[in-house]
Symmetry: C2
Subunit: 405 residues, 2 copies
């Protein structure tokens, strides 16, 4: 059961960006598993991709094609086309060529994306066969259907949308994402697509995406497993009547970046809320660090500890496990006597030991909630970092022990 994640919010159409969905029968007949997205001529795209050395064939192609001004995105679920070697590259390229042939663009202007089981060859023919159907379906109002069409073990589709006023004109930022397992993005999430009709130069768009990804998709973890297929694309169709944003210091950049950040954070958090087997949505905030790396080391040590994750599942305020994880996070010369730990507003440890006023009832009250913030005060400096994660439940084990069966 996803934690605090309901039906999709309103996803405002983005002028100049259309989506079409089809059923190729990759894993099961009748399931939406192919999505084509089309950006108007002149749109800019920026992308961030997994840093996993075993990146999937489509990720390799995306990186090659991105500089060519892509117009089409082609997504399939049910098969990740990762660990498939040269035949995998050829299969991905064939799907790009097929879509390019149908739309009259060069194959390098198609970006391919795959998600699903690793190590099986992409059924390119099945995908190619339904491309006409997906193209016939293209419409600006299809965001919700596309959000559904990119799901794998997700239990709910994920989307977010904002409208802002830029120079008196309404500009839209809408995005969708998918992912529930193998989630510890190191660049981006499994798949995320965010489009806006703002006019932005490509280098500025890439900068905006990088910054937003670092504060959203790159700050979530479910199981610590960085995927082979993580990809996040930001598209600016440029259909809004406005001056092109080409300056990182302009007020328009700040306004648009804020909306993009908000959409991407909502999409990233939706992935955590729908994490495999998740029963809790956990914010881990580390304050008072000397630098960013040590804050993140502590936050991820806490977020990845199976002992803390099972205690969260059990609603057990087992703060000793939190202290232990902070202690092994590898922070140099850590003075444990300066460390305070809070569960929401409840101080559980002060100066490295149990807070004198703390009672087990207070801790139990917070841990019983579906949404919990673990806050660690390091007392070493002024840097803060926040990440989001889930608990470790029986359901997580069941899902991943049965994934291929």
């Amino acid at each position: 059961m996803p934690v605090g994640l309901g039906p999709l919010p309103t996803l405002h159409p983005v002028p100049g960006f259309r989506l079409g969905i089809a059923c190729a029968g990759i894993k099961r007949a009748g399931r939406k598993d192919v999505v084509v997205m089309e950006a108007a001529e002149g749109a800019r795209m920026a992308g961030v991709f997994t840093r996993n050395a075993f990146c999937a064939a489509p990720v390799t192609l995306c990186k090659q094609h991105l500089p060519s001004g892509p117009r089409y995105l082609l997504v399939n679920t049910g098969n990740a086309n990762a660990g498939t070697g040269k035949p995998g590259m050829e299969a991905a390229l064939r799907t790009c060529e097929a879509l390019a042939g149908l739309t009259g663009v060069e194959p390098v202007r198609v970006l391919p994306f795959s998600t699903g089981v690793i190590g099986e060859l992409l059924p390119a023919d099945k995908i190619i066969a339904v491309l006409p159907q997906a193209l016939a379906d293209l419409a600006e109002g299809n965001w919700a259907q596309a959000a559904e069409g990119i799901m794998t073990t997700d239990t709910l589709p994920k989307g977010a949308s904002r409208q802002i006023s830029l120079g008196g004109r309404t500009v839209t930022v809408t995005g969708i994402s998918k992912g529930a397992g193998m989630i510890r993005p190191n660049m981006a999430t499994m798949l995320g697509y965010v489009a806006t009709d703002a006019r932005v130069t490509q280098p500025v768009l890439q900068h905006m995406l990088r910054q937003a990804a670092d504060l959203s998709f790159n700050r979530i973890t479910i199981d610590g497993d960085t995927s082979t297929n993580d990809s996040c694309i930001l598209i600016a169709t440029g259909q809004a009547q406005m001056d092109e944003i080409n300056d990182l210091t302009s007020p328009e950049y700040a306004q648009l970046a804020r909306a993009v950040n908000e959409v991407m954070l909502e999409l990233a958090q939706a992935i955590v809320r729908d994490g495999e087997g998740a029963t809790k949505f956990v914010t881990v905030r580390v304050n008072g660090g000397a630098n960013r790396d040590e804050c993140l080391d502590v936050a991820y040590a806490v977020a990845h500890s199976p002992l803390i994750k099972t205690a969260l599942f059990a609603s057990d305020p087992n703060w000793g496990r939190i202290l232990a994880a902070v202690g092994y996070a590898g922070v140099p010369d850590l003075d444990v006597e300066r460390i305070d730990v809070y569960l929401d507003d409840v101080c559980i440890t002060r100066n490295g030991g149990r807070a004198p006023e703390y009672t087990e009832e207070q801790g139990a009250r917070v841990m019983a909630q579906e949404e919990i913030t673990i806050r660690i005060e390091l007392g070493r400096g002024n840097v803060s970092e926040t990440i989001w994660t889930t608990d470790l439940s029986h359901e997580y084990v069941r899902i991943n022990a049965e994934y291929r069966t």
Copy 2:
């Protein structure tokens, strides 16, 4: 159910080393939970301890007392005396003082050890009350009872023993260990005690212990959680009639070190075999690395991946998850096309992709075994490293979600 771990083997007594057991009722009445060990006057001791910054009060005291030529070890289970601040230090010291008073030694010649729940104050009075009982029980033949007396969530006691001939005389090396969760030692395991009657100088003994720990306790992981209490002690009573070993290059050093290594490796592997919820005993071997660190980074990425661990639980040869973990292990400039992965003797991926001759049946046959070796060939150099781990089962979640209830 422990994997491939049966009843205790014969544990040969070590001349000059006695063990006594008592029931203090720390967690439950009638359970063996206090162990006193006594080394003959003139014995040498070496120790390695957790690198967790939040090390427990007894670990801090051990480090302070070790240079004073300890004669007594005092172990309690049921309470880790970690995260307990100054009152915890005082409680640990009081137990040392009480044992010192009863035996007529200085308190600095007592090493205290605690294991169990973190964050609760040590019930020093209960421990002190049973010290006379433990002392009355002291005997060289009590290794098996002591192995039982230091257990927490362990399902079986753990011990190993070797006898070797050094210069025509029989010398014994016997040890016990405990631990089943919060296991990713970074110096030593939760608790390990190994004694020999060999005569060895203290610096040589410390060197021998450090090397043996690095090849045994520091090469196992169950959940990646480095404990606050890891401690491993090597005692040489010097009762054997032999020249003192004071030279790291002597054949006697090599012979004794080999026996110590064997005992410690057996003890460390016993901890993995009895890992919380373990249904598999998994060896992860990385060959062909350019250096030790990258071999260990790859090995631990594989051993800590919840996705691989759940696939092991399910006996699912999901090799894509192994490739993904190798890919995110952080090895610089990893050329994935040089990487081969084996399950035991079965090559599952070659040159970064599925091996052409591999069949799912071959993988399933290996994965169905209780003991599995995952071997990764990096093709970058000549360095190899091996670690041992377990799977992630429903039982692991159940044990750790219910630990304090």
